[in-house]
Every structure is written in C-alpha cells, then in structure tokens.
C-alpha cells in the first residue's frame, strides 16, 4: 500500500476522478461518505485508500441519502466533508441538499453527470443535471456549482468548491461529466504556498452570547458540536437562535431571503468564466465542461477560416454568470450554445442575451459535439 | 405478610423516617394525571383549581404518606412535579 503525504506536488498523469479526490485532500477534506456509482466510483475508491493513510475518514454508506446525511453530520462535528455521486444518486441526495442549505452546512457534493433520465446511460457522458443542480431540492435557495473542463480543473475546482462552501456556508457542487471524470491527462499539483485554503469562520463570542444563525456579513460564524456552544440546528424555519419558528412569516422571509442574498450579493466574487477571443467576436459559443473543449477547437478553426468567433467558457454555472453573457450579447450577432442535453442552460443564456439570437445545439448519447459540428454551426451563423 | 417478616428492627425507635417535600409547578402541568393515578401511596389528587393551561393540576392530600419513591418526578411528562427529602432545621443550618 502506498504511503503518500497530503500534497503530491509535481506532474502526474491521472484521471479526473482521481484528480478530484486529490483536490479534496489538499483542500482539507477530512471526511468522505459515498455510495458506489458509475462514473464517480473512482473518487470513492481512491479516497478509501488515501484517506486512512493520512489519518482521515472514509466511509461507504448504505445509499446516497445516508452519504449526504453523514457528510452534514461530519461537517457539523467540525470536519470539512465531501460526497461524490452521479445522476441517480444526485436525485436521492436532493432532500438533504435542502437540509444543508437550510442549516448552512459547508460541504462539497461532486456530481459526475451521465446520460439520464433514470438509470439512463451509466457509462456515457451527459450534462443533464444542470437544472437539477439549481432547483433539485424543494423551496427557494441559491447554490454554487462549478463545471470543470479538464483533469487539472477537476483538481483545482474541487479546492475552490471547498473554499466557497466554507466561505458562504453553502453546499457547493462540482458538476462534471463522465468524460472529464474518466479522461486521463497530465496535471500539475503546485506547492503548498501556491494553494489557497479557506477555513470556516468561527464564533468569537462566549457560548452565552452566541446566536448560531445570527449573520455576520450575511454568513453566520459556525460553532461545531463539542465546542461548548450547545446550539440547536434544524431543517425547520428557525430564528437566529436556531429555534423552530414555523408559523412566522417574518422569520421565514428573513431567513430564506438571507440564504439567497448571501450568494446573490457575492456573485461577483463567486462567478468565473474563461473568455477566448471575445473582443471582436461576431459569433460566440457559450459552453462548459467537456463540450467547451470541442467549442474551443471549433472557434480556433473558425478563426483560421477568417470567421470572427469567440468562446465564453462557463466555469461557474450557478450562480449563472448572466452579466458576462449580457456583455457579449451586446457586441456579438449570434450566440451558440452546445449542450449534452435537450436544452437546459441555454434558457439562462437566452434570458441574459435578451435581443441577441441564441442558437441551441443539442447532443445526447455517447459522444460530445465534435469540433466540426460546432464549426458548422458557427459558419452557418456567421 | 409471613410471620418471620413481622420482626421489628431493634433500633426502630431511633430510625428517622425521611420526610418528603413535594414541589408542584402548577402552571407547567398539562393534566395527564399520571402522577395521581400511579402514586403507590396515593399522596396526590386532582385539584379544583384551573391553571394557566386550563387543566386541574394535582394537589397534595397527605404529604406525610410520601415515601420519596420519585415515581411522580420521573413519570411527569412536563417536569411539573418533583419530590425531595425535607431537611430538618439542624440540617438547613448546616
């Protein structure tokens, strides 16, 4: 059995799932609970070996419902925690994602998207969970979802996901697809001083004065079990004490609006996109995940042909970078949105693009769009 | 009772039977009646008064019958009754 340290600085050849697991380790994840599911299983397998060798906890639960519940429990007991799954398991987790939202539990949920609905295509890629990621649990909320396009980003964005989760006390999603997860590529793990780690904000008042859900700049400092604060947390609508106030419209308004506002008012700090050749672009492709790589290839080929094409690659899917889309909509003539689904994020793009026409390219099944297919769409719309 | 158990301890006169002090937090009572019904010494009964929750809390019939078994304390769902041993004047002074 290998005996490695926490940070494996240097160049490696690994797949996206393993890179995600290593990213979690570096981010300070001390608790992983999961349930096997293709194509996310390698994350669990890798962590089942890696976590114990660095004194951390790995547990396989009886299902995905239990996995996310255990993650919330571990987070409240003071540890950074993560789970990883795919579509069917992600569906099962929605109930407790809502609990994590309501109890403001920092945690990371990795969803490696495969073809759905239902068991669908276990070994094939998809981008069909994008709306479920946003609206899967009932009630109103804001959530953060990041979409990696490479193995390197599976590592980097997993660290970012932990940092965002801890900063905003919100479950944060890494929304990847089967190709990025199973793809093997070179990654470079930096040295410790180049990695930014955020830890949760702790209360600096005595237990008598502590109000567990009293926000400090929209996000309440978080005490954990066993620290002497003797606090209560509940999935019910609660006041700043954490006590249920299920009949009060005032408390419901104040709480739920704050849960949304703490993300909305920080959108600029959370949102990230990659802009490629947008300055003079007439046709802009908006894409994410594996499809963004086909789009990049297509945009480059289009430029070689003299077409002014550009790419807006979305790294943050939620909150949706609508200002970035609105900006390109102001200058570009057409926006093309290729997605491995029947039309999900394209509707957000349409909403932000207003007058500018948006062309949707759908593809389902085994393969993502080829660069030629996207190039063809660019040519037709240039 | 069998014959052999009728023997009385020789120091019976000196032994002090602990005296009970029953506390009833009337307004906390929801009137389930558990303490009244299941008191082995029948120390309590339902009172005529109506408390803040609109029920009849228990009242003490004869505190001296209480043997401080603590059943009423443990069986009360509302933490509305408890019994302690009454301290003698000397013990209070200490």
């Amino acid at each position: 059995m290998s005996k490695k340290g926490v940070l494996l600085t240097g160049a490696h050849f690994m797949n996206g799932d393993i890179a995600c697991a290593e990213g979690a380790i570096v981010a300070g994840c001390r608790f992983f609970a999961g349930y096997p599911i293709t194509p996310a299983t390698e994350i669990a397998e890798h962590l089942s070996e890696r976590m114990p060798e660095i004194g951390r906890i790995y547990i396989q639960m009886e299902d995905e419902i239990a996995s996310i519940a255990a993650v919330i429990g571990a987070s409240y007991a003071g540890l950074k925690a993560m789970t990883a799954t795919s579509g069917p398991g992600f569906s099962l987790m929605q109930e407790n994602i809502g609990l994590a939202i309501m109890t403001e539990t920092p945690c990371v949920i990795v969803d490696i998207m495969r073809g759905g609905p239902s068991t669908g295509q276990p070994t094939m890629p998809g981008q069909q969970d994008v709306m479920q990621a946003r609206w899967g649990s009932h009630g109103d909320y804001e959530i953060i979802a990041l979409a990696p396009s490479s193995v390197q980003e599976m590592f980097d964005l997993t660290i970012d996901a932990f940092n965002l989760a801890e900063t905003y006390r919100v479950p944060t999603l890494l929304l990847a697809d089967e190709i990025v997860a199973h793809m093997w590529e070179k990654i470079v793990i930096p040295t410790a001083e180049k990695i930014r780690i955020v830890n949760r904000k702790k209360p600096n008042v005595s237990p008598e004065e502590y109000l567990p859900f009293m926000p400090d700049d929209l996000v309440p400092p978080m005490a954990c079990f066993g620290e002497g604060y003797r606090f209560h947390a509940t999935g019910l609508t609660h006041d700043e004490h954490g006590y249920p106030k299920t009949s009060s419209s005032e408390v419901q308004e104040r709480l739920v609006k704050r849960l949304c506002e703490k993300i909305r008012r920080n959108e600029d700090k959370i949102m990230r996109v990659e802009e490629v050749m947008l300055d003079d672009a007439d046709v802009v492709v908006v894409a994410y995940g594996i499809v963004a790589r086909a789009a990049l290839s297509a945009v480059r080929k289009a430029r070689e042909m003299g077409i002014k094409a550009g790419l807006l690659r979305l790294i943050t899917l939620w909150p949706f970078p609508q200002n970035h889309v609105a900006k390109i909509a102001g200058s570009a003539k057409r926006i093309i949105v290729p997605e491995m689904n029947c039309g999900q994020l394209v509707r957000e793009v349409e909403r932000a693009a207003k007058e500018t026409s948006v062309v949707f390219l759908s593809k389902l099944g085994e393969e993502p769009h080829t660069p030629m297919e996207i190039l063809e769409a660019i040519r037709r719309n240039s | 009772m069998p014959e052999r158990m009728r023997h009385v301890p020789l120091d019976m006169e000196k032994a002090k039977r602990p005296e009970a002090e029953i506390h009833i937090i009337k307004d906390q009572c929801k009137g389930c009646g558990f303490c009244i019904k299941f008191c082995p010494q029948k120390v309590l009964e339902e009172s005529q008064e109506i408390n803040a929750r609109g029920v009849h809390p228990p009242k003490i019939v004869d505190e001296s019958k209480c043997v401080i078994c603590g059943f009423c304390t443990a069986v009360c769902p509302d933490f509305a009754i408890f019994v302690v041993e009454k301290l003698s004047k000397e013990e209070i002074k200490k």
Binding site: F31, A69, A70, I72, F225, Y229, R230, Y243, P244 | V75
Partner: protein
C-alpha cells in the same frame, strides 16, 4: 409544601423552547424526563453530548435538550449521527426519534447503523402510529388497529423492533414502557456507558391520535394497559417479545460487547500509518 420553584432537571432543558408541543397524556415528555435524569445521574459532560432527532412528535426532543442538538430530515437521524460520531468519536451522540422515522423511512439506515456497530445510542418512542401527521398507519401499528389510513383495521404485520435491532447487530437492546420509568432510566444509563450501537424501544402512549381510535381515549387508559399487560422477561428471546392487548413483554434482551465501528476505523488508521494518528 413549596408552590413555585425550579425543577432540578430544568438545567438540561432549553428554557426558551419549553413548554413542549406534546399533548396531554403523551409519553414523549416521560421519555425526555428519563433521558435527562440518566444524563444527570451519570454527570455527563453536556458539552460533549449531541442529541439528534428525526421528524415526528418526538423529533422535537433534540431541540428541548440543552446540549448540542440537530433536527434532521425525516428518517435520516441515524445517517447524520453516524457522520457526527465518526468525525468526532469523543462526542456522545444520542438519537431520539420515533418508530415511523427510524423504521419506515429510516429503516435502511437503522439496520446498517446497527450492522456497522457505530457507537450511536438510540431511543425510539414507539406510539404505534404517525402522530404528528394525524395518526396514519406505520411500521409498528398492530394488526387490526384502526388508524386514519386503516379505517377497516390494519392488515400489515408490524415490526418487532427489538428483534430487528438484535438481528441487525445492536450490542444493547431493551424495551420498556413509559410506565417503567426507573427501569427505563437505568437502561438509558447502561446504554450511555456502552461502546457500539445500542437501542431502547419505549412503548409510549399517544391517546389523542392513536388511543382514541383504539378504545384508549386517555394517556391514563394507555398506561393502564402497560400496567396490566407488561411482563418483564430480561434476556428472553427478542423474537418472541410480543406486544398485544393481553401481553406486553419488556426487559433487556441483548447486552454484549463488540468493538465499535469508530474504534475499529481508528485502530485501522493507526495500523496503516502509525506516525500519523493526529486529526
């Protein structure tokens, strides 16, 4: 006699949340009472106590206890508790929940928590139905009992909870009624001092919702049934621990020693890497 005074156990309760929501004659308050009495007698460190509950009437018990507490989604209390206990094994994690929460929607989590032998202590209030949602049939509703969803009588066989817990691997299994307050308190104390997964079922009156449909209109009538029918049969076969109008078998059924999951895991971690045992 002193009229207005402070209950000696009130320090274990969150003043702001009392009075509790439970009906007159409900046994949940008795269970909470016995639980905090046990905590008091053991002089447990309240800063290391975590009370977790699920959904249902008894689910509010977590909030009433003046320790760290968490009120989870329906059925997930044990999965949550598993994560908390593993993350910090120094915590005393107690799950207080109901028969519907733990054995219907949470049944799978229950058998796996018991199988794994995670060191979580479970107190289950069994009131034979779903009280909070208005008295529907549940996994412990007796055959032929009337509920709001079995108007012609229940035709589903109920779970025998102590048998299920024992078969799933719990290291401590007991059943009492809310009338057995001292035995229950002793049992809770015993459980709190054990390693591994422990389970106590408490048969609890629900006169307002279950009782009145089944010829026991008050808590007193239900407690009378417990008094009349209860037979203490310690260490008898839990598979034969019947609950019927005539006979209600209570007692301690299992009390064994088995290495807990968290201890096993931490030993494993130490073996794998003796130099790195810090957290």
């Amino acid at each position: 006699m002193v009229q207005e005074t402070v209950h000696p156990l009130s320090k274990y309760l969150r003043e702001a949340m009392i009075p509790h929501i439970w009906c007159t004659g409900c046994g949940n308050g008795v269970i909470l009472n016995c639980f905090v009495q046990a905590v008091d007698e053991l002089e447990m460190d309240l800063d290391k106590l975590v009370v977790v509950s699920g959904i249902g009437c008894i689910g509010r018990a977590a909030g009433y206890t003046n320790a760290d507490s968490f009120h989870t989604t329906h059925g997930r209390s044990l999965a949550f508790a598993t994560g908390a206990k593993l993350a910090n094994p120094e915590l005393n994690v107690v799950v207080i929940s109901g028969d519907g929460d733990l054995f219907a929607i949470g049944g799978n989590h229950f058998i796996h928590a018991a199988r794994r032998n995670i060191g979580v202590k479970v107190i289950c209030a069994n009131n034979f139905n779903y009280g909070m949602t208005g008295g529907q049939q549940g996994p412990t509703t007796p055959l032929e009992a009337s509920t709001t969803t079995t108007p012609y009588g229940n035709i589903e066989h109920p779970f025998n909870l102590v048998h299920l817990a024992a078969a799933s691997g719990a290291t401590y299994v007991a059943r009492w009624t809310t009338l057995h307050v001292r035995r229950l308190t002793q049992s809770i104390k015993r459980m709190l001092q054990k390693e591994g997964f422990c389970f106590i079922e408490v048969i609890s009156p629900c006169p307002e919702i279950f009782g009145r449909r089944n010829k026991m209109r008050t808590g007193l009538e239900m407690m009378d049934w417990f008094k009349r029918a209860s037979v203490v049969e310690n260490f008898s076969d839990p598979s034969k621990a019947e609950i019927s109008t005539e006979k209600l078998i209570v007692g301690e059924f299992v009390n064994t020693e088995k290495v807990s999951y968290e201890k096993f895991l931490h030993e494993k971690i130490s073996q794998i890497n003796e130099k790195r045992v810090g957290w």
